[in-house]
Symmetry: C2
Subunit: 243 residues, 2 copies
């Protein structure tokens, strides 16, 4: 029976894929995904059927993948980062419903909280929250509430989707919420295009972050009360007492 793999590609570079994800892409007959992600892998895995849909047609993309697997294709549905975190795994399960076919294999991948952190140093280390600033599927009031709670609980925060064409000021508004609780000099970092052409990194304070330019390829890190810059790294100590 054919299988539907929901594959987290990690940030973009093949080196950041897992062995399991690489094997699924080798073994499948068909790769389905948003065209940017299919473009990341199509040269390394030649001879596959490639099917893409535009960014906002996620449900169509998932229905297509399920239909292909029901028809006998081994399908790899590719997701950027992890397949579960802001990825397609949940939607695939929802659309399959109580049916047990096709078989689904969710293959996790490096999410930007991990890959972006490594680029900046070690900004997480301890408890943290991951919050998307996209209000396409979440009311902005909910996002604000989550930011406010995370700041009050001294959680480090990782912001996904800090901006897009339709919402250029979301990062500024998010920083204003955080600054109700956190100081202007709280260490922060921006990881850009992790593992892809144009990769870069920036260390700055929360006050500076409010006015920073970001796009949809950025992941933003806000430290907790212990976070500091050591050399050119953003580091949150774990708190080992014998250091």
């Amino acid at each position: 029976m054919a299988k539907l793999y929901v594959v987290g590609l990690g940030p973009g570079d093949h080196d950041d894929m897992t062995v399991r994800a690489d094997r699924a892409l080798q073994s499948c007959s068909c790769i389905v995904g948003y065209h940017v992600y299919v473009d990341l892998v199509k040269e390394r895995y030649p001879g596959k059927k490639l099917l893409t849909t535009p960014m906002t047609r996620e449900a169509d993309r998932c229905r297509m993948a399920l239909e292909l697997a029901r028809g006998g294709e081994d399908v790899a549905m590719v997701c950027s980062g992890d397949s579960g975190i802001y990825g397609m795994a949940a939607l695939i399960y929802e659309l399959r419903g109580e049916d047990t076919q096709p078989e689904i294999d969710v293959i996790p991948g490096l999410t930007a909280a991990c890959s972006g952190a490594a680029l900046l140093g070690a900004p997480l280390t301890h408890d943290f929250a991951v919050i998307s600033l996209s209000d396409r599927l979440t009311p902005w009031e909910t996002i604000e509430k989550r930011l406010d709670c995370a700041a009050k609980a001294d959680l480090s925060v990782v912001l996904y989707n800090p901006a897009s064409h339709g919402r250029p000021d979301h990062l500024r508004r998010a920083c204003e919420v955080l600054l109700r609780t956190l100081p202007e000099d709280r260490p922060c970092g921006i990881a850009r295009s992790i593992g892809r052409e144009g990769q870069s990194r920036e260390l700055l304070t929360l006050g500076q972050l409010r006015d920073a330019e970001v796009d949809m390829f950025c992941t933003v890190f806000i430290g907790n009360a212990a976070t500091r810059f050591i050399g050119d790294k953003m580091v949150t100590p774990r708190g080992y007492r014998d250091v």
Copy 2:
């Protein structure tokens, strides 16, 4: 000049390591780590010097790794899961301080929030918090505050270190904090020994979780208001409006 790799191994199975982590372990001359993690990799990478320290001697372990790299060894310091999240990357940077040598390369790995989620279905999908229940380095009051804030903000929650020999009742106490805000029937899941011998999974409600038996090899997932069970999977819908 020798290099110090801080390598996230992922949950345990070689298939869940990244290509980059595999390459670092192949190229290094020396593997340093907590003995359980060194045991996970030593057979696949023969001919390396192996150095281990007990669990609570993290700073000693990091000093040893830095010293070896300064002495010319290419060192892979291995961490379970990600190298940054509850891993050794921050401590390595702290102990190196403002020095720029030895060169440090933090190689991220799959953290249990990603690998455990894939085992259970797709329980995260959207915004979430990662909170450790270990009070070895964090006051319990801080942990309670974080749990309370996460529940109030409708964040899914991933609990690391839900129990150990010295603190068997931490999960019960954490559930009691969450139940101040969340309902008894909130869907939850436990991922055990992910990617290792004895891997298992369990779906249950938050009320049941309060009395569940867990150990240090468990990762616990608490859903948000939208999370539900679909067949034998724990799924948090992303909220695509056209489903």
